[in-house]
Every structure is written in structure tokens, then in C-alpha cells.
């Protein structure tokens, strides 16, 4: 009974993403047509003169001289068939480009999030346990500063310190040629693990370090603050007092009784932040030469490569929705009240 209700809800949620995704696709379409600039013109680049007819012919060929509503209906029809279209500038299927770039972006976001959690949660918990002590004040101040430093600045400083001065980390890229694990999922660390390729794993992790930390530091600061405040709430709650009254040892009180309940707001935050990590990492990808979707999409915007932008925006939106869905599922695990309501 309970499972089936959950299933129904899941199906409901997944079905509900369809109109949202379509709306996002539509918004991307409108935005792209509204911004000035012309893909054909960009495609023709500089150099020798191209005649007006040539440009016009290319526009016709790409269907760019059709009325907007026709272009839109063509685009939507393509979507319904599962066809994301063809990149104007790169003359290859958009789906292929996205499929190639998405694992890099997701892997980076996942590691950035892991870093943020690994740093933010313990700091938040300790700050809460040592409320109003020097540790609490310093970590709070540091987290404020962490939030207020732009990622591109952090990235360059990281390269300056850890790559150039200390030589610990490579400056950019995902993995050197020759070390790549066999392609299974596209996530290098996962592939390396699956194939038992330890050198590849080590190298991939080393390459991930700087970009993931750059991207995750701001999130870590926010996670620390949220964890701290929800931990403070929970530590003052009756059930924590009751657990102590039962004689539960302090570490178990902190972890089993307090942290578990304090994680609920953190999970919400993680869901939201993960979305923004995915959608906001273009700058970090550019700095670290990370071959991810962010660079593809920024490139495509500046080149007015309509199909690529439209499809990427949809992918972002879908990922965002999916992450939200997973977050909600996670609540049902963390908070039994939600499962049955």
C-alpha cells in the first residue's frame, strides 16, 4: 500500500516535469530568438568576403529564414520525436554533444558537492556543539568570506598556489592522454573503479581536486551555516534531551539523534545547490579547461547556436527537476512523517 502510493507520487512527479521542461524549452527558444546576432554570420567568420547570396542560401538551408512560428513548431515536433536537432556551428547532432559533455559536468558537480558536504557538515556540527566558542566564531567568519569570494578568483589562486608553487595538482583538464579508463559511464572516477584502473583513478581525482574545491567552497560555507543552525535547533530539542536522559552516550546523541534530524534542511539545500552547481559552473569549467556542458552552452550562446542552447537549457532544467525529485525521495528516508502524509 505504502509503496504503491510512493510509486503513484513518483509517476505524478515525473509526469509533472514534462510541462515544466517544455516551458523551459519554449523560454529558451524565445530568449535565443530575442537576442541580437545571427548564427550564420558568426559561422561565416572573417577572412575572405562571402557574398550575400551565400549567406542567404545558408540561412535557407538551416531553416533560419522561416517564420518564427514555423521554426518553433519544427523545433517542438523534433522534441516530441526525441530529436534535439543539429548544431549550426559544429554541424553535429546536439544530442551527441550533450551526451559527451554531461558526464564531465555532473562528475565535477558531484565531487564539488562531496567536498562541500565533507567540509561543511563537520564544521557545521562542531560549530554547533562548540556554540559561541572561538572555533564557532572563526569558522563562521571564514564561511562568510568563503561565500563572498568569486569562484574564478579562487580558481586562479588555487592554480597559483597548488599547481605552480607547490606542484601538487595539475592546472587543467580531466585526465592526461593514455591514462583514460575504458569508457563505460563517462564518469572517469567511476569507470576507473569499475575497471580497477588505479592510476587512472588517482589521476582523475588529482585533476578533480582544484576545480571541485573551487566550485564547492562556497557551497561548503553555506552547508556549514545551515548545518550549524539546524544542529543548534535540534540540539536544543526535547528528543535530544530525552536521549541523554536515556543514558545514550554523547557521540551517539550527536550523530544518531541530532545529526540525522538536522540533515533534513541540509538535504533541501544540497538539492538546490546541486542545481546551481550544475548550472553555474561555466566559469570554473572555462578556467580549468574542463570539457563540460557549461562551456558548450556558453560557447553556443555567444555563437548563437540556437539548437545547442535550447537543448542544453532543457537538460539543465531536467537535471534540476530530477535532483529535486531525488531530494524529495531522500526526505522520505530521513523524515518518516513525509512518507505517509
Amino acid at each position: 500500500m505504502r509503496l504503491s502510493r510512493l510509486q503513484v507520487k513518483l509517476i505524478e512527479r515525473i509526469a509533472a516535469t514534462i510541462p515544466l521542461t517544455l516551458a523551459v524549452a519554449l523560454a529558451a527558444f524565445v530568449l535565443m530568438r530575442a537576442i541580437p546576432g545571427d548564427p550564420v554570420d558568426i559561422m561565416m567568420g572573417e577572412g575572405a568576403s562571402s557574398s550575400g547570396e551565400e549567406v542567404a542560401a545558408l540561412r535557407t538551408q538551416l531553416g533560419l529564414d522561416e517564420p518564427i512560428y514555423r521554426q518553433l513548431s519544427g523545433y517542438l515536433k523534433g522534441l516530441l520525436r526525441g530529436d534535439l536537432g543539429y548544431s549550426i556551428i559544429r554541424s553535429r547532432p546536439v544530442a551527441e554533444m550533450i551526451w559527451e559533455a554531461l558526464p564531465a559536468t555532473i562528475e565535477l558537480a558531484v565531487y564539488a558537492m562531496l567536498f562541500a558536504l565533507a567540509l561543511g557538515i563537520p564544521v557545521g556540527v562542531v560549530s554547533a556543539l562548540k556554540h559561541n566558542t572561538a572555533f564557532d566564531r572563526v569558522s563562521t567568519a571564514v564561511s562568510f568570506v568563503g561565500v563572498s569570494l568569486p569562484a574564478f578568483w579562487l580558481g586562479i589562486v588555487g592554480i597559483l598556489v597548488f599547481s605552480m608553487t607547490l606542484g601538487w595538482m595539475p592546472t587543467s583538464g580531466r585526465i592526461p592522454y593514455g591514462l583514460e579508463p575504458r569508457h563505460i559511464t563517462g564518469f572517469l572516477t567511476l569507470d576507473a573503479l569499475l575497471t580497477g584502473n588505479m592510476p587512472a583513478l588517482g589521476s582523475a581525482l588529482r585533476h578533480l581536486c582544484l576545480p571541485a574545491v573551487t566550485l564547492g567552497l562556497g557551497v561548503a560555507a553555506v552547508v556549514a551555516r545551515v548545518t550549524r543552525s539546524s544542529m543548534l535547533d535540534v540540539l536544543g530539542s526535547d528528543y535530544v534531551l530525552f536521549a541523554r536522559a536515556k543514558g545514550v552516550p554523547e557521540p551517539a546523541v550527536t550523530i544518531r539523534h541530532a545529526l540525522r534530524n538536522a540533515m533534513i534542511p541540509t538535504v533541501t539545500l544540497v538539492g538546490l545547490q546541486f542545481g546551481s552547481l550544475l548550472g553555474g559552473n561555466m566559469i570554473v569549467e572555462t578556467i580549468f579547461g574542463w570539457p563540460g556542458l557549461g562551456r558548450v552552452v556558453v560557447d553556443a550562446i555567444f555563437a548563437r547556436d540556437y539548437p545547442v542552447v535550447q537543448a542544453s537549457v532543457m537538460v539543465y532544467a531536467l537535471t534540476f527537476v530530477m535532483v529535486n525529485l531525488i531530494t524529495d525521495l531522500l526526505y522520505t528516508v530521513l523524515d518518516p512523517k513525509i512518507a505517509l502524509q
Binding site: 536544543g236 530539542s237 526535547d238 528528543y239 534531551l241 530525552f242 536521549a243 541523554r244 536522559a245 536515556k246 543514558g247 545514550v248 552516550p249 554523547e250 551517539a252 539523534h257 540525522r260 534530524n261 530521513l334 523524515d335 518518516p336 512523517k337 505517509l340
Partner: protein
């Protein structure tokens, strides 16, 4: 019986620490002081409370909200939320001063020797865990088997037999949990131990909390307003349950309440608290029928009684600010019998008419009455 108990307690009080064990007291609180530092100065939540509880006794601690009842309970458990702290005094359990124990030793006492239940079961049960697990957690943290023996890790046992033992232990534990839930009156416990707190009604949640508290068969149960959050009918059921437990399991109970009538019905002895102090402490019937302290009287008069045609009277004035208690009697500003002495000098806790009393005015009067009756409590 109650009368002699009080005299025993008084002995404990009068003669100091050494005799408490000798007189068979289970819990003996002696001149306990507790403060909460705050921006406006220290809040003196408990100011020299002395109390004792005999085995199997039910003691009611009564007073208005903010009089330090809960702080007293938490002080006994050594669970005062920071930055609250115990300034001085002693809390002896069977003669052992809890304040002198290491935190590890104190943890062994909690849940196993003294258990505590709280006012609001809704917020006191951890929403994230099944109730059965929350009940058995008490057993696990005290490494106890349902039969009450401490688990000592088997030596030289082969892995398989250890696994088997572990499974056995788990099954036993589950059975015990179900039994316990049945004992506190939860219907179909064999299913419901797998449910989460929010799936129970308030009364049932309170029963679960009691089950958790009883899991290790403690000698003393501290109940902090256990029925305040419940409907009246449910209140009665929960109280009945506690009464049963007291009778059948022999668990001594300290019940904190603001409801004097409830305490009168339910308790052997009653301690009335005002402004962090015990102002009157004695057998329940004695206090209900012949309250001596003006505050106790006020409490009784402000309490509606069935069949009584007396108009209800509120105690004039407000509860004092505990950061700045004057040198005199804390109740003096609200007391109609106050004298100059009341405002100047804090009355000591003294024996009067078969009870302990903290009042200058009644002191003299009671003394006279006692002489007239020719019976001085010893």
C-alpha cells in the same frame, strides 16, 4: 506510614548526609543550588532545595510555571542545558552523590537507575526512528538484556555462536519491547513497534515514552508534567498506568505538576515549590487538608473543587524575577501574613506539624499548635 516517612526524611535533613543511606532513602537532594547565566545576570532557578524520596514512594512536586521544578529535575539528572550549572549541593542516589560521578558513570545512572519522562511526547520522541527501536535503544546503551543482566561479551566464542547469540539477543529484545508496549497499554504492539512516533496519538506517545523510561527497570522515575499536554481523559489513563507501575514494579516516582489536586490524589508526599525553593513538603493528605504555607493555601484556594461553593481566589502579585531575589522571603511581596521579619530575613526550612515548612509567620503559629497537640515530629 506517610507520617513516619516524613519523619525519616526530616532526620535525613537534620542530621546531614551520613544518615540518608541508613534511613533507606532512594534519592536525597540536599541544599541544591542551580543557576542559568543570562545577559541580565544569573537566573537562580533552584535555590537550596532539599528533598528526599523513599523507595516505592510517589512524590509530587507542585508549583507555578517558572518556579524551578523542571530545573530541579534536570539538575538531578545532571542534564541542565548549557550554560546552566549546579552551583552547590548534593544529589544522592542510594547514598552515592551523583554530582561527584564522572560523566560516564552518570550516563550509566541515567535511564538505568533514574529514568525521566517529559511533558510533550510529540517533541520528545525522535521523529526519525521507529518506536520499537527507541525503546530497545535504552537496553542497548546500557548493554542490558531484557532479563536485566548486563551483557558481558562472550569470551572465546566462535563467530557462529556469537552470531547466533546476537540473533537470539535481538529476538529476545524484540519480544521484550512488545511485552513492554503491551504492559503500558498499547494495543497490538507486535505490529505497532514498527511504527513511527507520529503515527500514534498523544496519549499513546506518552505511554511509549513511559515504556522507554521503564525499559531498564529503573528504581526512580522522574516525570516532568507528564500529563499536561494530554486530554483530561487520557491524563487519567496515563496516571493510572503510572500508579500501576509504582505498585507492581516498585518504581519510585517523582511527578512534577502545577496541578495540586492531581498531586493530592496521586502522591504519597507533596513538595510545594516557589521561586526555586521548597516552601512546604509533607504527606499529601496533610497538605491538602491543612495547608500551612500561605502560598500553598493560595494555591488551594485558586483551585476549583467539586461541590465547593467558595469563590476562587487568585494569588495577588507576580512570580518574582529570579535574577534579583531579595534577602527576605521570596513570597513576602504576595503574602498577606507578611511581617517585617519576612522582608528582612529568609525563613529556613523547618519542621512543623509533621511537614517541612519555610515560613516565619506560620512557623510560630504551627509551633503553638504543635505544643497544644503535644506531638512533636521527630
Amino acid at each position: 506510614m506517610a507520617c513516619s516517612m516524613v519523619s525519616n526524611m526530616v532526620c535525613g535533613m537534620v542530621h546531614g548526609a551520613g544518615t540518608a543511606a541508613a534511613t533507606g532513602m532512594l534519592l536525597d537532594v540536599c541544599d541544591l543550588h542551580t543557576v542559568y547565566p543570562s545577559a541580565r545576570g544569573d537566573v537562580r532557578a533552584v535555590r537550596g532545595v532539599s528533598l528526599a524520596v523513599a523507595p516505592r514512594e510517589v512524590l509530587g512536586v507542585v508549583g507555578e510555571s517558572g518556579c524551578g521544578k523542571s530545573a530541579l529535575m534536570l539538575s538531578i539528572m545532571r542534564l541542565l542545558p548549557r550554560p546552566g550549572r549546579i552551583v552547590r549541593g548534593a544529589v544522592r542516589l542510594r547514598g552515592v552523590d551523583l554530582l561527584g560521578l564522572s560523566s560516564g558513570e552518570m550516563r550509566d545512572v541515567r535511564g538505568r537507575e533514574i529514568a525521566m519522562v517529559f511533558q510533550d511526547p510529540m517533541t520528545t520522541l525522535n521523529p526519525a526512528y521507529r518506536v520499537g527501536d527507541q525503546i530497545s535503544e535504552s537496553l542497548q546503551v546500557h548493554r542490558m538484556t531484557p532479563s536485566g543482566a548486563s551483557i558481558s561479551p562472550p569470551r572465546n566464542a566462535c563467530v557462529r555462536s556469537r552470531l547466533w547469540q546476537a540473533r537470539r539477543a535481538r529476538e529476545e529484545e524484540r519480544d521484550y519491547v512488545i511485552e513492554l508496549m503491551r504492559r503500558v497499554g498499547i494495543p497490538s504492539p507486535d505490529h505497532r513497534h514498527l511504527e513511527y512516533p507520529h503515527q500514534f496519538s498523544g496519549g499513546m506517545q506518552q505511554r511509549i515514552m513511559i515504556a522507554i523510561a521503564l525499559a531498564c527497570k529503573p528504581r526512580l522515575l522522574l516525570a516532568d508534567e507528564p500529563t499536561t499536554a494530554l486530554d483530561v481523559t487520557i491524563q487519567a489513563q496515563v496516571l493510572d498506568l503510572m500508579e500501576d507501575i509504582n505498585r507492581e514494579m516498585g518504581t519510585a516516582i517523582v511527578i512534577v505538576t502545577h496541578d495540586l489536586a492531581l498531586a493530592g490524589d496521586f502522591c504519597d508526599n507533596i513538595a510545594v515549590m516557589y521561586a526555586g525553593q521548597v516552601v512546604e513538603w509533607g504527606p499529601a493528605e496533610a497538605i491538602m487538608e491543612d495547608p500551612l504555607h500561605p502560598y500553598t493555601r493560595g494555591l488551594l484556594l485558586s483551585m476549583p473543587r467539586l461541590g465547593s461553593r467558595q469563590p476562587l481566589r487568585a494569588i495577588p502579585g507576580e512570580v518574582p524575577d529570579l535574577t534579583s531575589v531579595s534577602s527576605g522571603c521570596a513570597f513576602a511581596p504576595r503574602c498577606q501574613q507578611r511581617t517585617d521579619r519576612c522582608e528582612a530575613e529568609e525563613p529556613p526550612l523547618q519542621i512543623a506539624s509533621g511537614r517541612m515548612l519555610r515560613c516565619h509567620a506560620v512557623q510560630a503559629e504551627a509551633h503553638n499548635r504543635a505544643r497544644f497537640r503535644g506531638c512533636v515530629a521527630r
